[in-house]
Each structure stands twice: as C-alpha cells, then as structure tokens.
C-alpha cells in the first residue's frame, strides 16, 4: 500500500518551498500538482512524508529534481496544426509590416514551439528580422531547448504536423540526424534567446508583438491566471497578439474587454491599451 500525500501535506510542502527557495507553487491547480508530487514521492520510494519533506528542505539538488518533475514539460512541434496554419496565413503577414519582430514563448519547456515558430518565420522570409524569446521556470528544460536536439523518433509526428500546418518544404531539411538524435539548423537557433523566467514572480522583460503561452495556464488557479494575463498585457504592444492553448481562454480574465479573438483559434489581438 502506497502512502498517499494528503492535500494538507501538499500545502505544508508548498509553504516550505516558498520559504526555503522562493519558488511559489501555492497558486498552482492542486489536483495536477498533487498527482505530480504523489508520482515523484512514489518514484523515489520515500518511506514517509516526513522524509520527503526533510529531503526537499535540505537538499537543493533534490529540489531541482522536484521542479523538473512536478512541472509538465510535454510539448511537440507544430502541435495543433490548424493553429499554425492561422499563424502563417493571418498573423505573420501583419507582423511582416514591422521593422523588427519580437516573440515571447512563455513556459516553452523543451522549446519545440520556438523551433516551430522559427521554421514558419524562415519560410515567410521574416526570420532575419525576428527574435524569439523562450522562457521556462525549469532550468533543465531550457538547457535542452537551447541545444535544439530532439529524439529522431519524434520527427515523424512533427513532420506530419508540419505538412498539416501548411508546410511546403521537406521537414527533414531543418535538421541533421545522427543516430537517434536530430539537431536543428543553426540558422534557426541563431535567432533564439532562452532564459529561465518564473511567471509567478518575475516581471516583464521586454515588449512583444506576439506572446505564446500554450497549455501553461491550465495548471494555474484563477487568481494566478489573472496575474499572468496582466503580465502578458503589460508585455504586449498595442495591436499585438496573445496565443493560448486549445482549451484555454481569455474570456474570464481581467483583460478580456481589450482583446478581440481572431477567428476560431485561441489567438487574441490587443485592440486597446490599458486605460
């Protein structure tokens, strides 16, 4: 019989982590967090909650593992091909009119979406005047994103997505395969800046024409979602775009009345500055 982490114990843990490391997970959705914490607790075979708690408080190395394991880092290239089709057909032609394009991928995990965007920009002749910022709370995944190396086994799926999203070239021309790894072209990585950034506690660091944050807000409680929406609003130029995950919406957010949705995709355009 496996010891179950109770919700009160989870609260204790989250308070510890905030006090000890300054990472605030207290406004994350509890059901998902509890599931991830339980999984880690079982995986690492702790005999009791007390020992788990002690290890986390006194072993910063283990805390890093904790952050990596409890945050969800599942992502893929050109996920939801119709979303990328809309980017290509509707959003990029508008961005093309700017002398310089700044894009922020917030919570980018291992960076697959940043690479997807770079491919789109390259094919529309915009990459040379673009900068793509990829940020995540988790330093390990940012390190992987920076390298641009992904398992070759995923390339078939990515290639299918690429074709469905309106890609016209041979997807394999963007990477070099070596045994089981695929390394993406330097012409793409040259326009990317990866850095850690915590949406809970860190501030705006630039102004963007496009911010993408897909399948991140589902892990936050409403209050935190509102805070993050305000951060995005502050970081977005007037008439800039905000893109969310397939099941996320701006609808209940405090900034909703100043944004207009683009068609059926989860893309909103900022139509008024904050008053």
């Amino acid at each position: 019989m496996i010891t179950a982490i109770r919700i009160e114990e989870l609260d204790i843990l989250l308070n510890d982590l905030f006090t000890r490391y300054g990472y605030d997970f207290t406004e994350y959705s509890k059901a998902s967090l509890q599931r991830r914490v339980q999984r880690l607790f079982t995986l690492d075979k702790f005999p009791s909650f007390a020992e788990f708690r002690h290890r986390l408080q006194h072993d910063p190395q283990y805390f890093r593992r904790f952050v990596e394991e409890i945050t969800v880092n599942v992502t893929e290239m050109l996920r939801d091909p119709s979303f990328y089709r809309t980017l290509r057909s509707t959003i990029l032609p508008v961005l093309a009119t700017y002398p310089f394009i700044r894009i922020w991928h917030a919570g980018c995990a291992t960076g697959e979406e940043v690479y997807s965007m770079a491919i789109l920009l390259k094919e529309t002749g915009l990459l040379h005047k673009s900068l793509l910022y990829g940020t995540d709370i988790n330093p390990q995944v940012i390190e992987r994103a920076r390298k641009g190396i992904f398992p070759v086994s995923q390339m078939q799926k990515f290639s299918e997505n690429y074709i469905q999203s309106g890609g016209i070239h041979d997807f394999s021309s963007y990477y070099t395969a070596n045994y089981h790894l695929a390394k993406f072209d330097n012409s793409l990585t040259g326009k990317m800046i990866f850095s850690t950034h915590n949406l809970v506690s860190d501030f705006s660091f630039n102004e963007f024409q496009l911010i993408l944050c897909r399948n991140v807000l589902i892990y936050f409680e409403r209050g935190l979602q509102s805070k993050v929406f305000k951060l995005f609003d502050y970081s977005l130029e007037n008439f800039g775009y905000l893109a969310l995950g397939a099941k996320e919406s701006l609808r209940f957010s405090p900034i909703a009345d100043r944004y207009r949705q683009i068609g059926k995709e989860k893309i909103w355009r900022k139509v008024h500055e904050a008053g």
Partner: protein, 192 residues
C-alpha cells in the same frame, strides 16, 4: 446506500454504442453530473457532443478548465487532455504524459474523482481493448465508491471489463442492454 454526487463513465473500443444507449436515460432532471471519459480516435474527434445530443435532452458539453460541476449535465473529456477534479468540485485539465497510452486516461480521472468524492462516487467501466481504468476502479472501490463494470460477455471488446473483474471486487456486473435501466435506477434511488 447513499445517493452518489458524481458518475464517471470510462470507455474505450466498442463502448460508443453503450454510451449512446445510456444517453437516452439521462434527462435534464438527472440528479447528478455525468462525466464521460472516452478514448477517442480521430473519427469522432469533433462531433461526439453532437452525436450524444441526438440522444439526450440534457446539456452535453466538453469539459472546460475551472468549470463548476453541475447535476444534470453530461460532461465529455476533451481529446488529448486528462480531466482532473479539484477539492472544490471544479474541473481541471492536464496535458501531461499519456497514462496507459491514453490521454484522456480513465485511470487518472477515476483516481482524482475518488479523492474528492470518496463514497459519493459511481464509476462505470465499459468495453475496451486496454487496461486503462482498471487500476483507477480499484482505487474508487478502496475509497468506498460504487464500482460497476459492463458484463464482458456483452462487450464488443471484452478485455477492459474482463481485466477489471479479475483485479477488482466490483460491486455490479451489468449486461450492456441493462446498463441504461441500471443507471436510471441508481440515480433515482430515494436518498437514505
């Protein structure tokens, strides 16, 4: 027996027909919320709600994150997301790794529902070709929820219910044809 406050139905290959039959007994006055976690293939990706709506007068909708769970509503797990349930009886969506090669995973939702609803939960496991849902059903049982499995003899793909029967001391095994009536009886049981 207490009246349940949530019903979760898990199904995979071969379960669609049974779910269609269940729909016909779920009317707007149905006293509890119903959540359907179905392994989908791309064929009914988009029109599952419409398909079900042709059979039931109740509100049928895809689960939205942070949504309050209401009785008389039939909720469908969206393709490619796990459905979780918060302490305050709202839904959360989760895009983490597949479980039993599945997202949505029936195990994930059964477990989460059992944590929140405990003895106030009914879970049904229908026809299917993999073991997703079995472990979760065991957990529901452990937490005092009511567990029901489609009789494998009447299942198009018997593996899933069969596996459940071999692993979990389920409360009821019901033939496909009797499931709608069983559910109706369960829901309109006078509270004790």
């Amino acid at each position: 027996m207490r009246r349940a406050k949530l019903m979760v139905i898990g199904g995979s290959a071969g379960s669609l027909q049974v779910i269609m039959e269940i729909m016909s007994v779920i009317r707007p006055d149905f006293p509890l919320p119903v959540l359907i976690v179905l392994h989908r293939n791309s064929i009914f990706e988009s029109n599952l709600e419409e398909l079900f709506a042709s059979r039931s007068q109740a509100i049928i909708k895809e689960v939205e994150e942070k949504e309050v769970i209401l009785p008389g509503v039939i909720y469908i797990a969206p393709a490619d997301y796990h459905v979780l349930i918060e302490e305050d009886q709202t839904f959360s969506l989760d895009y983490s790794e597949r479980v039993n090669f599945s997202r949505p995973s029936i195990d994930v939702t059964f477990r989460c529902a059992a944590d929140v609803y405990g003895t106030d939960l009914v879970c049904l496991l229908l026809s299917g070709g993999n073991a997703d849902g079995v472990e979760g059903l065991g957990y529901v049982k452990e937490r005092g929820g009511l567990t029901v499995v489609q009789d494998p003899v009447t299942a198009e793909v018997p593996y899933m219910p069969q596996h459940a029967l071999s692993q979990v001391a389920v409360d009821f095994v019901v033939a496909a044809g009797n499931i709608p009536a069983f559910i109706k009886g369960l829901a309109f049981l006078p509270p004790v």
